[in-house]
């Protein structure tokens, strides 16, 4: 196949492209997606003090700066070989759970909502956040906005700023939390739990009560038997801020566990033609292409993956929902049988949302968060460190190497969406192959199914904020076996 280059100057840029390759028979042979990626990050970081990284990396991505702030400061802790005081770790984790509680809310109502709350069969004009608000009512719509504001307020109280936190630094935190602030955090936490319960109720009434939605979630069209990856706490429960990275095989058995500094023993990356994206895979299984199964190193890092690797949730209400999810989808409440249905990611996100709310509430009530002992100054330097957290879209790894004074020499990031590049391509292919056949024309319906497949992953295209104006179209390019462009369909998503 010859390479097709789309001239970036002659058309609107900054958009997602999906390349579909058809074979001689006219059937789908392969699918790749491509999104604009930032470049030059390593060069930008080089020779900057490592303690600046938690603030620089929040500016890379306007979508989940909190995740970068935390992964970065954990890597910086490791570079200096310093363990922050317990109160500082608690503050970081509380900030992070508050962030997740707000972030998952937006994702569920803006992404899951169009497919489930409004319904996959609803007219296209209704399948959006405005349609969700119309369906569930303005009151709940306002609650969604309030919940987002609660998450931001938690980040602001602990992180100093609502959108781009600044207070985590190597060895701990720079800002203590007052008793009055703690009282506000407790109040917010309680409100969050109520909202989390409300979200579960909506999911129950609108999605679970509708057999066609449950069938859609379990549909084989959107299933891949891949490995799962996620962080677990010492009890094997889901944790967003810290823990052991656990990988389970497609049959649910434990495949590997590793600590942050060992990630290169487990994760490798490859690049495929036509896509320009990096495709991470499990090193010990190997890259076998865009295929699933136990012999393929493709893994997924999503809310569903986190539940798959864990033994449950660390809070009572979320744990009950965890068991209900597995009981419904696999018949085994223990969660030992993994769920591979891609659209179940939306359900897992709701379970995680409730967990984040409960965790925020519980941790806000811990008086130790008002301690003055929140920073331990680094005394030496190791010169290399890896920090790992769970970002909403999947596991996030920051790896820095510095000179003996702590100036960055090398920086490597594996971000949430990147983990899922292979799986997203596979889901697109699976959704498209049922629709692209010899003699058929690619139609609008193809785009809807493809969108549904990749929306479940909440892929992050948010590397530049000019997307605020909405100029982030999706383009589907159908290639003949010789690489020639056969058809192009474009529309704004």
């Amino acid at each position: 196949m010859k390479s097709i280059i789309i001239d970036p100057i002659t058309r609107l840029e900054g958009h997602g492209k999906i390349h579909l390759f058809v074979d001689d028979e006219g059937n789908l042979a392969n699918a790749y997606f491509q999104v604009p990626e930032l470049r030059g990050f390593e060069v930008f970081c080089r020779n900057r003090p490592v303690e600046e990284m938690p603030r620089i990396t929040t500016r890379i991505c306007g979508v989940c700066p909190e995740a970068h702030h935390m992964a970065s400061v954990k890597a910086a802790d490791a570079v200096y070989g310093v363990t922050p005081p317990r109160a500082a770790l608690k503050l970081r984790e509380l900030l992070y759970n508050g962030f997740f509680a707000g972030d998952h809310t937006t994702h569920f109502f803006a992404l899951g909502g169009p497919d489930f709350v409004v319904g996959p069969e609803a007219p296209k004009a209704e399948r959006n956040i405005l349609g969700v608000v119309r369906k569930v009512g303005l009151e709940l719509g306002a609650e969604v906005i309030k919940q987002r504001a609660r998450g931001q307020r938690v980040v602001q109280i602990i992180g100093g700023k609502a959108l781009h936190p600044v207070t985590a630094l190597p060895g701990g935190m720079s800002k203590r939390v007052t008793k009055e602030e703690q009282q506000e955090l407790v109040r917010i936490g309680k409100e969050m739990v109520e909202f989390g319960k409300l979200t579960i109720k909506i999911f129950e009434d609108v999605v679970l009560a509708n057999k066609s939605y449950v069938d859609l979630i379990m549909s084989d069209m959107f299933a891949h038997r891949t490995y799962s990856i996620g962080l677990v706490d010492p009890n094997g429960k889901v944790n967003f801020y810290d823990g052991t990275v656990r990988i389970t095989a497609p049959d649910g058995s434990l495949f590997a566990e590793y600590q942050a500094h060992e990630y290169l023993d487990h994760i490798a990356e490859t690049v495929l033609p036509y896509s320009y994206l990096k495709y991470p895979y499990l090193k010990k299984v190997g890259w076998k292409g865009l295929v699933d199964g136990p012999d393929s190193g493709v893994y997924r890092a999503t809310p569903m993956s986190r539940l798959n690797v864990s033994d449950g949730m660390a809070t009572p209400l979320a744990d009950a929902e965890y068991r209900r999810l597995y009981g419904t989808l696999t018949g085994d409440e223990s969660g030992k049988t993994p769920v591979h249905a891609t659209l179940a990611i939306h359900w897992a996100r709701v379970v995680e949302l409730l967990f984040a709310c409960e965790a925020t509430c519980a941790q806000a009530g811990d008086d130790e968060i008002t301690s003055d002992d929140i920073h331990r100054p680094p005394e030496g330097i190791v010169g290399e460190g890896v920090g790992i957290v769970e970002a909403p879209r999947g596991i996030l790894t920051h790896h820095y190497k510095t000179d003996e004074k702590g100036f960055i020499k090398e920086a490597n990031l594996i971000v949430g969406t990147t983990n899922n590049n292979a799986a997203i391509s596979m889901s697109i292919k699976k959704a498209a192959e049922g629709l692209i056949r010899k003699g058929t024309e690619v139609r609008e319906g193809t785009l809807n199914m493809i969108e549904m497949a990749f929306r479940a992953y909440d892929p992050c295209f948010g590397c530049a904020t000019h997307a605020a104006l909405g100029r982030m179209p999706l383009e589907v390019i159908v290639h003949a076996p010789d690489g020639a462009v056969r058809e192009t369909i474009r529309r704004y998503c």
């Binding site: 930008f44 992404l111 959006n128 405005l130 303005l138 719509g141 892929p459 605020a468 104006l469 704004y492």
Partner: protein, 166 residues
Amino acid sequence: MANPAKALVVGLGNDIVSDDGFGPAVAAACRAALGAREDVAIESASVAGFHLLDLIVGHDRVLIVDVVRTGERPPGTLLRWPLTHASAARTLGGSHQADLQTTLVLGRALGYPIPDEITVLVAEALDLETVREEMTPAVAAAVPAAASLVATWIETGELPVPTIEG
């Protein structure tokens, strides 16, 4: 929001992603030129979608300064972006892709005090991928002219540049 300034200027963009730093650079230039004024707020923001809602609610009129890349005009070209070009109801590819128009419609539906007048000034960009603090020369050169346009808008409400055709 307690007594927000009547007029708000938002320089939108990421100042470490080359030409995406145009909005924040214009905001900085305006701040330097205008000094502190109670009737005008000038903000820089690297946010999108729903986050924008928090910034703009409560103001009477808002001017957003941003970049677009159409590839159809020389970099640095200044234009008014008509908000009506964005569809008010479209499926999102990601939650962070809630475009400005959708955000505004949602905000109004929820009863937020969304300003009646929202104007968008954009510069044609060249590089929106490279992580660096410098803009490309033509885009950087457009900052003073954009700042001057912002000053005109603050005083008169007019934005004397062509509207982008779409």
